[in-house]
């Protein structure tokens, strides 16, 4: 107990030396905190970018329609995938009903079958350009959504049946869908209005699940059919494994599985630079800090040699001398830690922003610090674990360096220290 009290008093007895030590320690912790926080934040953002873009895979085909829709769907059944998203658009003819903007039945395609595997029914619905105003989104096989304008024109209600024919009148086939809900289109294009051009009217779109659409052969095989498949890998590193798996399932060698890399690189490049620089800086600060602290410790120990001699002559055991002086250093470090972490947390965000701004200028790209929500591109945050990690490293460094100094000094016999001085 007295050891601790004496250590605390010593801090103030030796103001000059401890002020210098505190200043150095503060600067080191400050620099360490800034670089560590930025590094952590950048790494997190890279992880996010990878999660967002890096795990999206698509199949690039050499020619058109090399792969059948059923192939795409089958490839989605893989343990390597988190999920797969499909969408298909194809044209057909209404059997007995009238499309909007249709002047007289002419035997041409007059409806658009849109299908998606997305639970949110795709971007238009997600963004609110369209919304389901009656009934519900298609769930069961055969369910479909029709627009309110189309329903009105044909007197359709929930549960009504709609019959479809192939777009090409020469082909045979028929399909029946059931209206499960009605959507309203709020987009500027929603009104349509080019008489004689029903395919240009968004309200002629009928929306189904991919499962439903893929079961209609004449739709799947129609000319102008569009099909899109995006596979979400469980992690970006599985890309190669996924391609091998598809090869086994029969994917022709003319087709390759590619990651959505471009977007990832675009998002992650400045972050990777930031992460690398801050990571290197953090290591340099630590190494430099360790060296400086050992030096300061040994210098201050030369100054304290006499004190050690006196304490030892008074009968204080070596271990207690070391403990007392260690307490001093650690107390000073702890105080600097509090201030340094606070200052570091406050400074890290502006420093990160400045860096991102310069990185963006360096690449001659428009500044990208702000994303759509007005948040900075790198959000630096002081977390308990970050503070703990920096604190631990700081205390460890201070402890080791001061022990190095004290052990250096306690090697000398007290008699020698004292006779040297006298």
């Amino acid at each position: 107990m007295y050891l601790f009290q004496n250590a605390m008093r010593n801090i103030f007895r030796n103001k000059g030396r401890n002020t210098i030590l505190a200043l150095i320690t503060f600067l080191l912790i400050f620099a360490a905190a800034v670089s560590f926080l930025i590094h952590t934040a950048a790494e997190l953002m890279i992880g996010n970018a990878r999660a967002q873009f890096g795990n999206q895979a698509t199949i690039e085909t050499a020619g058109t329609k090399v792969l059948a829709v059923s192939d795409y769907l089958g490839y989605g059944q893989s343990d390597l995938l988190e999920k797969a998203e499909f969408s298909m658009t194809a044209y057909g003819r209404l059997d007995g009903l009238r499309a909007l903007d249709e002047e007289a039945p002419d035997g041409n395609a007059n409806m658009i079958l849109v299908s998606t595997s997305r639970a949110d029914l795709g971007e238009d619905f997600r963004k609110g350009l369209r919304s389901v105003t009656q009934g519900k989104a298609p769930e069961k096989k055969g369910d479909c959504l029709v627009s309110d304008a189309f329903a009105k024109r044909n007197g359709l209600a929930i549960g009504s049946s709609v019959k479809l024919l192939p777009a090409d009148a020469a082909k045979s086939g028929t399909a029946a869908l059931t209206v499960s809900g009605i959507y309203t289109d709020n987009s500027v294009n929603g009104a349509g209005g080019q008489p004689g051009m029903p395919l240009y009217n968004r309200n002629n779109e009928m929306i189904t699940t991919v499962e439903t659409a893929a079961a209609i052969d004449f739709m799947v095989n129609s000319t102008g059919r569009l099909f899109d498949a995006v596979y979400y890998l469980k992690n970006p590193d599985l890309l190669g494994a996924f391609q091998s798996e598809l090869r086994e399932k029969g994917l022709p060698t003319s087709c390759t599985v590619t990651a959505n890399e471009e977007e990832y690189i675009q998002a992650a490049a400045p972050l990777e630079k930031l992460s690398k620089i801050s990571g290197v800086f953090w290591i340099v600060v630590l190494l430099l800090g360790a060296a400086v602290l050992v030096l300061v410790s040994i210098l201050s120990m030369r100054e304290r040699k006499y004190e050690v001699g006196v304490l030892r002559a008074m009968g204080m055991k070596k271990g207690r001398v070391i403990l007392g002086m260690l307490c001093e250093t650690l107390a000073v470090t702890a105080a600097c830690l509090l201030i340094g972490l606070g200052a570091g947390a406050a400074a890290a965000q502006p420093v990160a922003n400045l860096f991102m701004q310069q990185a963006a200028q360096g690449e001659q790209a428009p500044p990208t610090q702000q994303d759509g929500d007005g948040k900075p591109a790198v959000q630096v945050q002081m977390t308990a674990s970050a503070a703990g990690e920096i604190g631990l490293v700081a205390l460890l460094l201070a402890g080791i360096s001061s022990i190095a100094g004290i052990v250096y000094i306690t090697r000398f016999e007290p008699n020698r220290i004292l006779s040297e001085r006298n």
């Binding site: 007295y2 004496n6 030796n14 004190e307 002559a313 009968g315 204080m316 004292l418 006298n422």
Partner: protein, 221 residues
């Protein structure tokens, strides 16, 4: 039985050829004041560093209460059994006089309840008032520092008190006071007091007077 006993003790500083102490024999008992006289460079301080447990003899045996110093815990010996008044004071210069005394009590593991109060009393006894006691040692005169050193040597109530020129920086009157205290410690409190000096005046207080000359210790009276 002797409290301290030196048997054919010689000492040589490491890396030197000359023996500073040569086959010294001496015994000391509680209740007596011993004075070792010698010229400058005779080896007085060297003898003292052996007696105070700061160093070990290079030849011969030194015993404390019959135990060889080599096998003794000398930290413990310095902390509890012996109080040393150094020629160069050896105080913690950044701390106050009072803090020096209290720290010494703490190191010895003293159970004293109010260490501050008894330290102040002790300082008062050697002529350091409360105001001076609260000042940094650095800001005390040589004589004042010497008195603080004396108070520290007494602070943990040791069996043996060893003093290296304890009155070297004190005027005649203070010298009398200090030597009076040391004699009283021997005669009234049964301490074993050993003083090394080159001062004739101090030698008058001796119960036993020894002479140290070129490393040889001889009994004078």
């Amino acid at each position: 039985m002797h409290l301290l006993k030196l048997e054919n003790v010689s000492y040589q500083y490491a890396g030197t050829a000359r023996k500073i102490l040569k086959e010294i024999n001496m015994g000391s008992e509680p209740g007596k004041l011993y004075v070792v006289m010698g010229k400058s460079g005779a080896g007085k301080s060297t003898l003292l560093s052996l007696l105070s447990g700061l160093d070990l003899c290079t030849e011969g045996v030194m015993l404390y209460e019959g135990q060889d110093m080599k096998s003794l815990d000398r930290d413990e010996y310095r902390a509890k059994s012996v109080g040393v008044i150094f020629q160069g004071y050896n105080l913690l210069t950044n701390a106050t006089a009072l803090e020096n005394i209290v720290l010494s009590m703490n190191i010895s593991g003293s159970r004293e309840k109010n260490k501050r109060e008894s330290a102040l009393k002790l300082l008062d006894r050697v002529g350091i008032d409360r105001e001076t006691a609260g000042r940094q040692v650095l800001k005390l005169s040589g004589g004042e520092q010497q008195r603080v050193g004396i108070a520290r040597a007494l602070s943990h109530n040791p069996d043996i008190i060893i003093a290296d020129e304890p009155t070297g920086n004190l005027d005649g009157d203070t010298e009398k006071t200090i030597m009076g205290i040391l004699r009283a410690l021997a005669h009234d409190e049964g301490k074993c007091v050993i003083v090394v000096t080159h001062s004739k005046a101090v030698s008058q207080y001796a119960d036993e007077l020894w002479g140290l000359n070129a490393g040889n210790l001889v009994f004078l009276k």
